[in-house]
Amino acid sequence: MVTTDEKGPLTAKKKSVIIRSCDGDEFLVSESAAVLSTSLKKILEEKEDRLIHLSDIDNKTLAMVIAYLSTHADDGLSDDLKRSFDQEFVSGKEFDVLKYLVLATDTLQVTCLCYTVAKKMADIMKNKLVEWVRREFDIQNDYTPEAEAEIRRLDAWAWDDRQLEDD
């Protein structure tokens, strides 16, 4: 399957590259969009090949990143529009989806998107129970109950009069 970005026919004349996800699907992306990712830029500078295989990014995540890159490579859009696109882009996404996104943008070195996603994650984590954070980040609690109680005691101010959420 070959998926084009929305400007497909218009940019056909321009150079484009094919990016393959770990699921095997291929995405046609204009070079101007691809080079917004520092990693892809480096790969394109180093080799002639127009096919880039990303072994650790799945279909769904890659499609989102490419939508972002194509929007930001569009010279016809104002910076304000791009900024509101960024906000729209992260809003309403599941925490799990954001986790895959932040990992992908880190791998691809798309600094702006990585920041936007990480900021969104930090915002979601506001007023969340420690148990929620452990579950969402899939982290084993390696404190002994005594050690955890001690840490909570030291920062007692942080637990006073605060309603923490678990969803």
């Binding site: 984590m125 899939d138 101010w157």
Partner: protein
């Protein structure tokens, strides 16, 4: 999905802005606790409880503590003891709002931030004498509660903007870059202002219930020395109360300066209240004032 790499976790944690959330994330795991030194900005909400007020910054002065901190905002803290801070080399912006402070606690806190460029102290009380010696300070806004009798000294050659409320004695020696100066005192009196040459001054605002003659005339002189075009464009009406004939000459020169600088002044009322007439100089002074009124009779009236 496997858990995210440390670097990404640190990146996310560094974007949290509430100290309480950061503190609860320390409980997630040992690895997360060790990620905390990478925090960029701390924000302490107003609901800080007193016995714990320094708990958070203190946690961060563990080895490699919050040395990356660039901005620290403390709201509603009780700062009567010196904070146990390491040096925050990267800290540029310090804001303390609605705090109760002691002089030595503030000076120790300022000493821990050698590269500070922005300082904001809003609604702070308990200070008597403040000396700001951070050499990189550019913007400084100070607003003190209380009797308005605090004494302030600023020693920074980079100071560009200074706004002070609630100080009676203000000394700023290195003023080569000072563009914006605002001095007011809502509750106390401004006794003394001592500034270097105000060569870069663009705006000057002086407000307050009571200014000492000496201070106000010095202020006007300093500003007009710098720029002979110095004007007070908005002042239309001024009421001046004179209570004693002491320093008559200075008072007359201040009245003169006011007339000269305030081009749009339409009405100046001089109230002479409870003047002790047994003093021999009172008559002379009164004569001076009458002459002054005669010279500027369109504007000046005496009550």
């Amino acid at each position: 999905m496997e858990s995210l790499p440390d670097a990404i976790v640190q990146h996310i944690l560094s974007l949290m802005s509430n100290a309480k959330d950061v503190a609860s994330c320390k409980c997630v795991s040992k690895r997360w606790k060790d990620s905390m030194p990478y925090l960029r900005s701390l924000f302490s909400p107003k609901s800080f409880r007193q016995p714990y007020q320094w708990q958070y910054p203190r946690c961060h002065s563990e080895p490699n503590g919050a040395s990356n901190l660039e901005s620290l905002k403390l709201w509603g803290v009780l700062m009567i003891q010196s904070p146990k801070w390491d040096v925050f080399h990267r800290l540029k912006n310090l804001e303390i709002v609605g705090a109760s402070l002691k002089d030595y606690a503030l000076s120790d806190a300022l000493r821990a931030c050698p590269n500070l460029t922005h300082l904001l102290l809003l609604g702070c009380e308990g200070l008597m004498s403040v000396s700001i010696d951070n050499p990189h300070i550019e913007q400084c806004k100070l607003d003190f509660y209380g009797a308005g009798n605090c004494s302030l000294t600023v020693n920074s050659s980079k100071i560009e903007s200074l706004e002070v409320q609630g100080c009676s004695v203000i000394r700023v020696y290195e003023t080569g870059r000072l563009k914006n100066l605002s001095i007011s005192n809502n509750s106390g009196r401004v006794y003394l202002v001592d500034f270097g040459k105000l060569v870069a001054l663009e705006t000057l605002s002086i407000r307050g219930v009571q200014w000492c003659w000496d201070a106000i005339s010095k202020m006007l002189q300093m500003a007009s020395e710098v720029d002979s075009r110095f004007l007070i464009p908005c002042l239309e009406k001024v009421v001046i109360t004179v209570r004693s004939p002491l320093n008559a000459e200075q008072k007359m020169s201040t009245l003169d300066s006011l007339i000269k600088c305030a081009k749009n002044l339409r009405k100046m009322t001089i109230k002479i209240l409870q003047m002790k007439s047994n003093h021999s100089s009172a008559d002379d002074f009164f004569e001076d004032i009458c002459r002054f009124r005669y010279m500027n009779r369109k504007i000046v009236s005496i009550e």
